[in-house]
Amino acid sequence: MSRVGRNITVSIDRLRHLGHRQDRPGRIASDASTCPKCDSHYSGDEMRRNLRVCPACGHHFPVTAHERLEQLGEPGGYVELWSDLRAADPLQFTDIKPYVDRIREAESKTGMNEAIVCAEIEVRHVPCVAAIMDFTFMGGSMGAVVGEKLARACEHAAQKGIPLIILSSSGGARMQEGTLALMQMAKTVIALDALAEAQVPVIMILAHPTTGGVWASFASLGDVTYAEPGALIAFSGPRVIEETTREVLPADFGRAERQLANGQVDAVVDRRELAARIGRVLHILAPPDGEALLATPPGWAQGGAERVGRVAQSLPSIPGKIMGRIRPGSGDDEGPAE
């Protein structure tokens, strides 16, 4: 797949340069935050150090994609992929304002080209491909660029045989690209199967919010799926449901903790433990290390039948009085056998 190779265009140096954008005065001012849950106030520096989690109450603030990559990997340790892809305007779409203006505003507000950043990265020394969505760019919505970058990330990870980490934070399909935005759901679901064919795992991180066509496509298809505390995870949001069905929803409707109870995610993981948790599962899932296999105690693999026979002989036989009590259909008239 030569196309993939050609599109790795951004060097680490350029990334470091891009990283400095976050220190522009405008960013720092908006970086200082007051916790909406407990009213604690933090400077931008404190927020960054705390991974944008409130130390007082644990509230998880939004994080930009580039900062996410820094949280997951080693400092400066990622190479961004396909950062030059930008949205077209296939419908010449205008609602309250033209789509092209919305894109331009999002670009200047975020310093990004789109709502997702893909990169090669090492998480706890495991090389991975990461695809990180950014809610600050048009609500993280999925149009053709997000679909294309996700598909390339899948194909790239499959081709390299390394795990894919996807972090979703999105309101769903990008309305302004109409039917073609809807089709990105199909594109991403199919592209994920490249990893299945390559026998490479996909780790899915659901951040707030993961809704609509993103939840109903790739985001619900991770091999291991972690959710951040409090993240809203739903196909239809609470407002749409209440308006359509007149149901009164519980306050924690669709939230990560409830979706864990519903069986929709594997675990709710605090952001401060996320990188370690991903690293741990990647080490468990790693393919066998040839040297470690050779280091298995000699003799273990040989003489198997003989050893099995010895082990069987050494098992204690079951006393007759216990055997006598075992009747078909009864298993509970005795406590646990020791």
Binding site: D84, A87, D95, T179, L182, M185, S236
Partner: protein, 309 residues
């Protein structure tokens, strides 16, 4: 794309003629009228077509996990002397039936029932036809708690993995992920007055204009007609309807649909499973225009030509 598009009466040209006018800033009344036809109260629904184009149809019920969803029908029918699996959302005609069918808004059970039938079809080697007609998947708390998102994504994943030929037909209203959940196919056909959209005009109106009365303007902005979907590469063919729309003559509408289906299935049955799967993947992989770094628009999948009439 494929050669050998089914020929049909020349109604399509009429729709194509509308296209030119639909790009202006004014509200296009023809486009709105066409969108209203897609959800006309007398329009043929999924079972109206299945019962007419099959010589016999056995409907199956239940997902074997939780329940049976009347908003989705699924089963096996005899079509041109072969077994074909049919699945599709089902709308209701009168108030009672509309409620019973939940307005064609399927719950996770519906997608899981349809997946169950598609898996059987794949195992027994019969082609699959999906009929899409829904304002969207059911937006309800119960549906969410039983995994509406995962039901739709797994349905798409299953459809892409199928070895047998798969044809999706948008017969009325194809809105949102609820429609696309049945839409991963070797060929996507659209009835002349059907729509295929990321969201219903009413939903878009409320979200983008923050005003529920802007549905016409939303429709105008999305332009989700069959002819446009053909141009975008979302649809592979536009199936003509009887003059005035499918609701004027259910028999004729079903007959035309049956002809298109048969020709499409014959075309697909001539291919190997591997050929179909590669083409199915590439078909969706291409969709979605990007701005290339030089500033031009790279419209990977678009067609300049109108649908063949």
């Amino acid at each position: 794309m494929s050669g050998g598009k089914p020929d049909g009466p020349s109604f399509v040209r009429r729709v194509t003629g509308k296209l030119g006018r639909s790009s202006g800033a004014q509200v296009d009344e023809d486009l709105w009228a066409s969108i209203q036809l897609a959800r006309h109260a007398e329009r043929p629904y999924t079972l109206d077509y299945i019962n007419r184009i099959t010589s016999d149809f056995e409907e199956l019920h239940g997902d074997r996990l939780f329940g049976d969803d009347p908003a989705m029908v699924a089963g096996f029918g005899r079509f041109h002397d072969r077994a074909v699996a049919f699945v599709g959302q089902q709308k209701g005609r009168d108030t009672n039936e509309r409620t019973y069918r939940n307005f064609g808004m399927a719950s996770p059970e519906g997608y899981r029932k349809s997946m169950r039938v598609m898996e059987i079809a794949n195992r027994l080697g019969m082609p699959i036809v999906t009929l899409i007609d829904t304002p969207g998947a059911f937006p309800g708390a119960s549906a969410e708690e039983r995994g509406q998102g995962g039901a739709i994504s797994r349905s798409m994943q299953l459809m892409w993995r199928l070895d047998v030929p798969v044809v999706a037909v948008v017969i009325g209203e194809g809105s949102s992920g609820g429609a696309l959940g049945l839409g991963i196919a070797d060929r996507v056909l659209m009835l002349e007055n059907s729509t295929y959209s990321v969201i219903s005009p009413e939903g878009a109106s409320a979200i983008l204009w923050r005003d529920a009365s802007q549905a016409k303007r939303a429709a105008q902005a999305f332009k989700p007609t069959a002819a446009n979907c053909y141009r975008w590469g979302v649809a592979d063919a536009v199936i003509p309807e009887p003059p005035g729309g499918a609701h004027t003559d259910h028999e004729q509408a079903a007959e035309i649909l049956g002809q298109y289906l048969q020709r499409t299935l014959l075309e697909l049955e001539a291919q190997t499973p591997a050929e179909r799967r590669v083409a199915r993947r590439d078909r969706f992989r291409r969709l979605g225009p990007l701005r290339d770094p030089e500033g031009g628009v790279a419209m990977a999948s678009g067609r300049d030509a109108p649908p063949p009439g």
